[in-house]
């Protein structure tokens, strides 16, 4: 029981990170119908920027809370600018092009981000100086740190904030209008270009926060870290119903739990035939199954023309 509780906790924390990244995918997809392949790599840039800031400030002896705020702030700033420029340079000119074109550009942007990061930060794993010592406590026999709890709460808070923003704010209404029909929204006086650019900025900023969380949680950063994370997060977004903000978080948490339980129990369940080496396959199997059986995802509206 203790072990099971621990696995659920593991899954929830891992899932919260997936959820934060998945929000970026889902927002851009919702509004543009485009899989922003480069989103995982934007998260990576956010992670490495905050890592560098933490390294510099920790060496200068700045107190930890200040470091965290500054690291998060600079990561959000860099990623927001990055998201904005990527949208402007690589995606906007292709908005009316055949479907294949923006997809291929997205792959190109993803490669560019990865290897630019390799140039700037090198290809080694970069370690995080220990600036915070999270408190450790026990729930239902499961070990939990304050940092893990914070990550989970943060994912939920951002989701709630985002839901409120989209529902209640003027910009949120414009986003919904653009999502439903960009042409009509334009006729109604919505500046769709601004709305789409804003969506990219917001998604990238949340990605930056996710990057900071990954760095704090695992204590390292790497130029290739965005790839697998992005893929899993995309799976989470699809699982929850892509384009749906609540779905992204639900999908993220579910995927995290599925992976944890799979890695933890598959060996015992199959009598040792399958092992934890198949963990990464589960994400893809979930993806294929959802797309085949219920392409609109758990919270999406069935019958939509999404797939």
């Amino acid at each position: 029981m203790e072990i099971f509780a621990q696995q659920i906790v593991n899954g929830l924390v891992l899932g919260s990170i997936y959820a934060l990244v998945a929000l970026g995918y889902t927002m851009v997809y919702g509004i543009l119908g485009l899989i922003n392949f480069a989103h995982g790599d934007i998260t990576m840039i956010g992670a490495l920027v905050s890592l560098t800031v933490i390294q510099l400030l920790a060496a200068a002896g700045v107190p930890a809370p200040v470091i965290l705020v500054l690291a998060g702030g600079s990561a959000v700033l860099v990623c927001a600018i990055l998201g904005l420029s990527i949208e402007r340079i690589a995606y906007r000119p292709l908005r009316r092009a055949p479907r294949l074109a923006p997809l291929i550009t997205a792959i190109g942007v993803s490669i560019l981000l990865q290897y630019s990061a390799a140039l700037i930060w090198g290809k080694q794993y970069i370690s995080l100086p220990e600036i915070i010592e999270p408190a450790q406590f026990t729930i239902f026999g499961a070990q939990l740190t304050s940092l893990q709890a914070a990550i989970f709460l943060l994912a939920c808070t951002i989701m709630a904030g985002l839901l409120w923003f989209i529902k209640a704010s003027r910009m949120g209404r414009a986003m919904r209008a653009t999502e439903q029909n960009p042409d009509v929204a334009g006729l109604m006086g919505v500046n769709t270009n601004t709305v789409i650019a804003f969506t990219f900025v917001l998604g990238s900023a949340i990605g930056a926060i996710a990057g900071l969380m990954v760095v704090l949680y695992y204590g390292l950063g790497h130029y290739f870290m965005g790839f697998m994370l992005g893929l899993k997060a995309f799976t989470a977004a699809v699982l929850g119903g892509i384009g749906n903000v609540g779905g992204a978080v639900l999908g993220g948490l579910l995927l995290g739990i599925i992976e944890s339980l799979a890695a933890g129990y598959i060996g015992d369940l199959t009598g040792g035939v399958l092992g934890s080496n198949y963990r990464d396959i589960f994400a893809f199997l979930v993806l294929v199954l959802v797309l085949v059986l219920r392409p609109s995802g758990l919270l999406g509206q069935p019958g939509g023309e999404r797939a």
Binding site: E2, I3, Q6, Q7, N10, G11, V13, L14, W121, G122, K123, Q124, Y125, I126, S127, E130, Q136, Q143, T145, Y218, G219, L220, H222, F224, M225, M228, E259, S260, L261, A262, A263, G264, Y265, G267, G275, S276, N277, R279, D280
Partner: protein
């Protein structure tokens, strides 16, 4: 870290260019050499193949530097083979740590008519390349490939001067079971040729010694979340966790063990015996153990002198495999001297009969081309530093313990290894 590496690369490359430039520009020292009756100087090319670019470049360049140092030392000393004066020449190639590229550069070296090759770094590169060298009749000594398969292909040209996984794994297991008295062992590998090979060999020996393998888990060389498998392992209550893999995984793994409250000891192979492991794991690294083939660098017979020479020459510390590369060249040249020829067809048979006292210790090959009885050193993290704990001979029980005053081995080691 990157700037550090870049500077190393730069320094090494500058040195290399300067040297080659000097070599070309200075006229032959003795003008007599051009006279028809003077003994002709035979040029013998020695190839070096390792990753000189990409994430493993620092280790590849380290190997190349070792080879270069040997070539220069031998030239300075003067070598005579079969009564002829010989000048050695280094031909170095970049295999990018990529199996397909490795065969291409191997072909380039064979084309360049090198007499012998020191390389490659990765087993994944050494194995396919060994066929190209065998077809070309060029002997090859790998300074670093630890996959047992490398020497099992029946090629007469294939040698290595490093203990392979089949030697390191069992030795590690003997240490774990006999010395640390581990009874319930959990094993994790990173699903790479290196990590899994090491873990498999560890598992087999640990079992025969009577330890119980209570869990065998796998992760990948890209993953950083091990909570799920560690939680499963925690439920089985191990007293020792063995990891076959490299530091970017080992570091976070130890950290997450601490977070989950796992008290078991942690032990691994040479891939995690790096300063970066300690950085990544933080305080959690204390007490972690890892083995490295070979003696501690400062305890190698000619080690101290070599380390100083290397530092003076390249203005950096030895990473890991430079001494092996250095010795490999001497092994080749000694064989040539004995055969009285620099023709691979003639001196190849002599390599197998090598009995050489090198920087890394005594070098002799078994009939497969593997190093006989390579010593292995176990290190432990103490107060944020790797310290030698015990030197283990592969076939014997743990033997000598280094003097307590042995200075900490703080030399950087590979960040990545396959």
């Amino acid at each position: 870290m990157h700037m550090h590496t870049l500077r190393h690369i730069t320094a090494a490359l500058i040195a290399a260019t300067l040297i080659t430039a000097c070599g070309k520009e200075t006229p032959p020292p003795a003008p007599k050499a051009e006279a028809p009756k003077a003994p002709e100087v035979l040029t013998v090319k020695i190839g070096s193949a390792s990753p000189l670019t990409g994430p493993q470049a620092h280790i590849g360049i380290d190997i190349r530097n070792g080879v270069q140092l040997a070539v220069e030392d031998l030239n300075a000393k003067g070598v005579e083979i079969g009564g002829k004066k010989v000048k050695l020449e280094l031909v170095s190639e970049d295999d990018e740590a990529n199996p397909t590229k490795a065969t291409t550069v191997a072909q380039k070296l064979v084309d360049a008519k090198v007499a012998a090759v020191v390389g490659h770094f990765n087993s994944g590169a050494s194995i396919p390349a060994s066929k190209v060298y065998a077809d070309g009749g060029v002997p090859q000594i790998s300074p670093s490939s630890t996959n047992p398969d490398y020497t099992l292909k029946g090629f007469k040209t294939t040698f290595r001067v490093v203990a392979h996984d089949g030697q390191q794994g069992p030795t590690l297991a003997r240490f774990a079971v006999n010395t640390l008295k581990a009874k319930n062992i959990a094993i994790i590998d990173d699903s790479t040729a290196y990590g899994q090979g090491l873990a498999d060999n560890f598992e087999a020996t640990a079992k025969t010694l009577g330890a119980k393998i209570i869990a065998r888990e796998h992760t990948t060389d890209k993953d950083t979340d091990f909570k799920a498998i560690l939680t499963r392992i925690k439920g089985k209550k191990p007293d020792l966790i063995m990891f076959g893999g490299i530091d970017p995984q080992a570091g976070p793994m130890v950290k997450q063990m601490k977070e989950l409250g796992i008290k078991a000891r942690f032990i691994g192979g040479d891939g995690m015996q790096t300063p970066n492991f300690i950085k990544l794991a933080g305080d959690a690294s204390d007490g972690a153990m890892a083995s490295i083939p070979g003696l501690p660098k400062d305890q190698m017979p000619g080690g101290k002198a070599f380390l100083e020479k290397y530092k003076a020459k390249f203005n950096q510390e030895v990473e890991l495999f430079a001494p092996m590369g250095y010795d490999a060249v001497f092994v080749f040249v000694e064989a040539m001297k004995r055969a009285g020829s620099a023709d691979p067809a003639k001196f190849l048979a002599e390599i197998g009969k090598t009995d050489y006292q090198g920087v890394i210790g005594p070098i002799a090959f078994d009939d497969k081309g593997d190093l006989k009885n390579g010593p292995i050193t176990i290190y432990v993290v103490k107060g944020g530093k790797w310290e030698p704990l015990e030197i283990v001979k592969p076939d014997a029980a743990p033997a000598a313990t280094p003097a307590a005053s042995a200075p900490a081995a703080a030399t950087p080691a590979p960040e990545t290894k396959k």
